[in-house]
Symmetry: C2
């Protein structure tokens, strides 16, 4: 171990601290907007507890690692709310540049590993990525249900919009979780 | 998989959301007090990046899992600042009761597993626990250095107090990290 190596690792970890200041559109149980660092923690916990519901075998450790780093690009690129108006190609380009800069702070071997893991998550094609991505879509509606609307109310979202934006990814990566969530969301919108 | 099982897992995960509202004595780079959920995320990232510096082989996945759940008891017991005046036996009793209640929300097999993992962390005797505990002690001084004082200033902490409270655990569980940190902390107190 060279001292330079630990210097580079610490530079990355202290830069990552800034993720705690990136605000999302979802609200926690107390009404405060969730930040992307605590969101990443919550998702890693979801993966740890819910891994048995993945529809095909996943490597839980890899899924957790993916979720710990999946939003770090937002330090440079910001959060793009799922119900907001977004220029997807601009966001993609901004996030790719952010991934290069931020993971590039690490020693070369770790930079390559983290960058590949982040691209795997974004591409959403492997079993690990599909399960991780579905948890990223599954957690916010549960926060919305807990607080009685949350981002659905803020963005004036209908049941149809919710289903159109969320169902495909959650159904594909975690059908058992979608089957648990969907009737609860329908019940909410019926009485909202 | 029974529906009851998923109901219990979701009850735990949504109760865990409350960790985002538990405030610590350490400040993030922007001066805001860190909460225990984002702290847990940061530590899991530290473990992922710094595992090679453990003085003996560790299971990184277990260390990460330990760190994801290590502060959940604070939902009931609150955070006990390391430089504050604390009745340790009262805190211990309160945290043990919190662990029983909170992990007890999970299905029995997971409740047992999480409770054992939390006790292993607290007991600080296995290689995984020693490394996890040392990261829990190593991260806050780095935040303090980044912000120019932080909880050291708030609690009027001297270099000797810092060394007395922090050195034993970090040195034992991650001597390479202590050797990296110590001269930086000494330089800070020399000019503070």
């Amino acid at each position: 171990m060279s001292v330079d190596r630990l210097d580079a690792q610490m530079a990355f970890l202290m830069e990552a601290d800034k993720l705690k200041a990136i605000t999302r559109a979802t609200r926690n149980h107390d009404g405060r907007f969730e930040n992307s660092a605590e969101h990443s923690w919550h998702l890693a916990l979801f993966a740890t507890v819910l891994a048995e519901h993945a529809p095909e075998p996943v490597n839980v450790g890899r899924v957790v690692k993916m979720l710990l780093i999946h939003d770090i690009v937002e330090i440079d690129a910001g959060d793009a709310p799922i119900f907001g108006e977004v220029d997807h190609s601009a966001v993609d380009a901004s996030e790719r540049a952010a991934a290069d800069r931020l993971f590039g702070l690490l020693p070369q071997d770790q930079a390559t590993e983290f960058l590949e893991l982040w691209h795997e998550f974004e591409d959403n094609e492997t079993p690990d990525a599909r399960f991780a991505k579905s948890l990223d879509r599954f957690q916010p509606p549960n926060l919305n249900l807990a607080i009685g609307g949350g981002s659905w109310t803020d963005y004036n979202v209908s049941l149809e919009t919710f289903e159109g934006k969320l169902a495909p990814k959650i159904q594909r990566g975690a059908p058992a979780l979608w089957n648990w969530l969907h009737p609860r969301v329908k019940a909410f919108f019926r009485t909202a």
